[in-house]
Symmetry: C4
Subunit: 369 residues, 4 copies
């Protein structure tokens, strides 16, 4: 990784190394990929207003989530099927997260079992889809609890998978040796069944997930777990207010990285209204578009408590397994450290008080080489 | 149609298969085609804010227009001379609409007679231009009534045809075997007379249509038909209010797909003010730029009761006659179904309550393959 | 001119036919040509909201300026040295304007004498620069009066010429047989003296024009002519109000076609504030960016009484002398006629009442062939 | 320099003549260079509204700063290591500034000693970084005082250097014969130590500068010098107000030319709020994006007292030593003179009263040749 000097370099390297259908699986969005592009454009449109003459010799990036300490306000986002990218899969990612002192999210569709993940010592969150098989779901919840997970992340924006044209054109399916190991084998073979005009993963999802999920279901889940419950995938402040009313422990403002509704509002654009709706005491996480330390700061300035990091983690995994993910996380930490200094923020409270502005014009970075 | 996975794919396929002058005839706009482009840019600028935790197991896309049930809030827009694209012409389109459970609009310039259209069983609307020959117009109205049409769509934005440079450069004229069969043969030959520096269709239009149409004429029409009257081509809320005062049954917010005034406001931009002007009880349809299910939802969220679908229907017709149009309509329905689920809309009432936002920056989708 | 179907076609044809240094002389702007580009972008950003159901069988484009009738709200803008483009020069342009029933503006730097221009029968306005030689200026004013000009257009935005890099790079100078015939021969030779690092025309201008022009001078001019005085080159509403106070007969909102201050506000953006500042009774003309009939309508909708047409007239002159200019003017008239019909405007009063909107997004016309 | 007709031409010439790693060192920004690009986009988005009919025969561009007269409201910005670009380094630049009658800023990292600079007769400002070695800093302050500098510019936006990827990719280091001559030799060798994955200059900076700088330190500095103190690198109006409270003599609104926080607000966008926060009596300078005379006027119209000119000075230095810098400064003066005439500004007070507008659309200059 000699010539890798930025997180974007890692991404370019991953794109070069991965077969097209795998790169497309992780990089792609739904539909015309307008929301995928809008996520980045919306971040770039947040111009921060730095403070100066504040002692930033040792900025403190640390925070606390669900009673655990984080070395920076970042967690690894839930991402399925990580053994597609490297044989070590989620294990490599979790180890790097543990080493970096940030939480790792293991998913319902993990290719490594939750117990192996928590064995790495990582602060582990368990991501849950709302399954048609309620007993199976409950079993997963209890496994997560017993393995020592510190939070349940319930994904609420996948009543069905967004139409990801790259996967459909590629006839994407999981290879025979990759499966969601926490689900019964019978339940996962569909994801391995290649079709000329469909994504096997999408077909599998629609078989498995229950699009009927609603607020009443949430109360049932609340009654069946002692873990903090985090709702992932909210964009409307009315839903954020309902989440607070229903006593959830945190929410994740997210458009699923541009992979669900193409045409959805960028999550960073949705954030200020949501923060206003829930007030200061609710934990508000954000994902969809975070690519560097300055983006973390932008999210904090617009109201986030912390962010989830997605694709850049997978780039690291593809390029160098645990070492690669560690490279992603340490570059991110270095960028955040620098960004806090350059904005005069000794801690995250200062970051939340930064002013920001929108550009009044179109712009585009030009990097000649 | 093995490799067609989206409505845009159908469009690309149609462009490849059609002779240039026919593709240009359906794809082109007027002038510099700024409004044609603005229509799409304006849709893409509507960022929807999805709801979550609503049971969307079975979203209901159905609605009712003019006393008839539609399986989705979509009708086939009035489009002339469909036999140019396939020998089956309007018959193929109507059959596909009937099969899909949505209305078909037969036009004054149809190449298939209204009686043949209604025989397909399609819920049929009759589109009327204001003709210089008032007796002929009345005759068309009565044929429409007798054939069982359920609504009259009076196009009010064509006092003359917009200057469509592609057709002029192509010296576009109808071939000898294509004519508006509902008009007297003598009245239609002009459209078949090729000229090096004009569109024969435009010349024909100016001979046939009466640019003097005004609100007083409307009352005369009202007195001469028992069908619901729909005004197509309104963009100013003052006109929408006048339409309500004059007792019309519905309006279509439209800039004629960018084919009339180049420089006109995109219809989706005009919609909110118009909905505000007419209140909740007026039926407001919209066309000009609808290319997929998310656009239908965008239109509903901004105030439309339903939309008219234009060019994508012709793409299907050109590529595969009735089968092709059915492909367009079933892809649209699938997209709408997905979009309703991904926005947490169990029905169209929920869709109307969706929030939306404008991007504060330029953006462009990037689809690498 | 067989393949010329639009005013833009005329421009392309002129660009092909003219030597580079002449094309650059008429097409270029000052500095980085940002204002030149902004002029067009600003027009394209005016989305008109058409009216419907108004009798537009015979829209009346006529108006009155300075007691004379115009067949459309358009005059030929003052443009220097027209014999550069065709031996007939201003004579050809004036004849075409006369035939079209619109005013022609003869300039201080005309290559044809004002008396020859008025002999064409054209309604003629005389454009005046504020010359260091006050006696010469007075002589010009009296020649204009005696020749029968109907207005004096005093250009107030050229204390010196904007830095036009194309001309400087081209070492632009007038050929020996082209000169401002209304000025003494001694005063014009500088414009013919080629320099490797300057525009001879600019050098000449700075020798000739007086940058000290101010409101007091205006009163002196007022006292020395019975012609209506029009100030050309205002952009600030405070200046427009001062003009009204000083009793001028009309103003021209203009940034000199992007040829003076690069970075100046587009005149169409400046127009609404100026109209608001002067009220309904002042004649407000506009130039800088008018390229077609829809632009005329945009200007009227934003507050202009009429517009001045510049470069497109020169395109016509270069391509076909009087015939070419007539082609420009008849295409413009046809476009305006169509645009009035398509916006439901039976007359210019209706045009002034049109609503308009700004796009909320970037857009660009795409004309595939 | 025969074919150089604009400041941009000088830049292109410098890019051609300099080795890539040197061009990158002066041209580059930090991160993705979004702020670098945004700086220019923000200037171009300021549309000035010119005045007319004001006597501008002899516009007076002069002003006074810190008791000294300037021939125009421009000073040479602090820029390090100028002997990289030409053996004469800061001496050449200072001489050109002296000849032009504007201040020159000598930096802590100058490759020519301050005493040699003041010997040129230039009005000299001394730029100070907050060094970990407080005694060394004090020594520099006293040298500046004794040499006759007229102001101290304390740079407050470099607690550490922004991540400049071009330098990192180039493994940029100072050659053996270039060093900051005002610092002890031991303290500067790090900047000459080449590394494959770092910028030696950044490494050196982090060794040398103290990121703990805060308002309390400022009072200590105030107590230790009789020179006016200028804070450089403010963007937040709250900091500007604090600066006034702490009795500083002037501030520089700056994002360090896009070289510190990538994602920072353009300084021209930050200016109006800062001027509002400090009122009319505080001297407010601005840099970051000034490329020509019109930009100076834009900055004045938005609230600046004067501007600092950066990269264009280095372009001149690289292309032609003192002669080259003089070319930059005389082109700038000529552009400013023209711009004041074309906006009707006889002096800088008039410039401050100019109106300005934002474009409502994307635009881009097109310069065909």
């Amino acid at each position: 990784m000699a010539s890798i000097h930025s997180i974007a370099d890692l991404g370019r390297s991953a794109e070069q190394q991965l077969p097209v259908h795998l790169w497309d699986f992780i990089a792609g969005g739904s539909g015309d990929e307008l929301t995928l592009a809008a996520n980045r454009a919306a971040f770039d449109a947040v111009h921060l207003v730095p403070r100066v003459l504040v002692d930033v010799a040792e900025p403190n990036c640390g925070t606390t989530l669900f009673g655990r300490e984080l070395t920076m306000p970042v967690a690894v986002a839930p991402m399925a099927y990580q053994r597609l990218l490297h044989p070590d899969g989620e294990l490599a990612t979790a180890r790097a997260a543990a080493a970096a002192g940030i939480p790792f999210t293991v998913t319902t569709l993990s290719t490594v079992a939750v117990e192996q993940i928590t064995d790495t010592g990582a602060d582990t969150w368990f991501q849950l889809y709302w399954l048609r098989d309620r007993a199976l779901m409950l079993d997963l919840v209890h496994r997560a609890e017993n393995a020592g997970c510190s939070a349940l992340i319930l994904t609420v924006d996948v009543p069905e998978m967004g139409r990801r044209l790259r996967d459909i054109r590629n006839g994407f399916a999981l290879p025979a040796d990759i499966r969601a190991v926490q689900l019964p084998e019978a339940a996962t073979s569909l994801a391995q069944t290649r079709s000329a005009d469909a994504s096997a993963v999408a077909t599998h999802t629609s078989e498995l997930f229950d699009p009927g999920l609603n607020w009443a279901n949430l109360e049932w889940l609340r009654a069946n777990t002692r873990l903090p419950i985090v709702l992932k995938g909210l964009l409307d402040p009315r839903d954020a207010a309902l989440a607070v009313e229903h006593g959830v422990d945190a929410i994740v403002v997210s458009n699923h990285g541009g992979r669900q509704l193409d045409g959805a509002i960028p999550s960073i654009d949705a954030l200020p209204d949501i923060r206003a709706a829930v007030g200061d005491h609710c934990t508000v996480l954000l994902d969809s578009g975070i690519r560097g330390g300055i983006d973390v700061l932008r999210a904090l300035a617009l109201g986030a408590s912390a962010v989830l990091l997605g694709r850049p983690v997978l780039w690291g995994l593809a390029v160098g397994a645990e070492t690669g993910v560690s490279a992603t996380l340490s570059m991110l930490r270095a960028e955040l450290h620098t960004a806090m200094r350059l904005t005069g923020c000794p801690d995250l409270v200062a970051a939340a008080a930064l002013r920001h502005a929108k550009p009044s014009h179109a712009e585009k970075g030009v990097m000649s080489r």
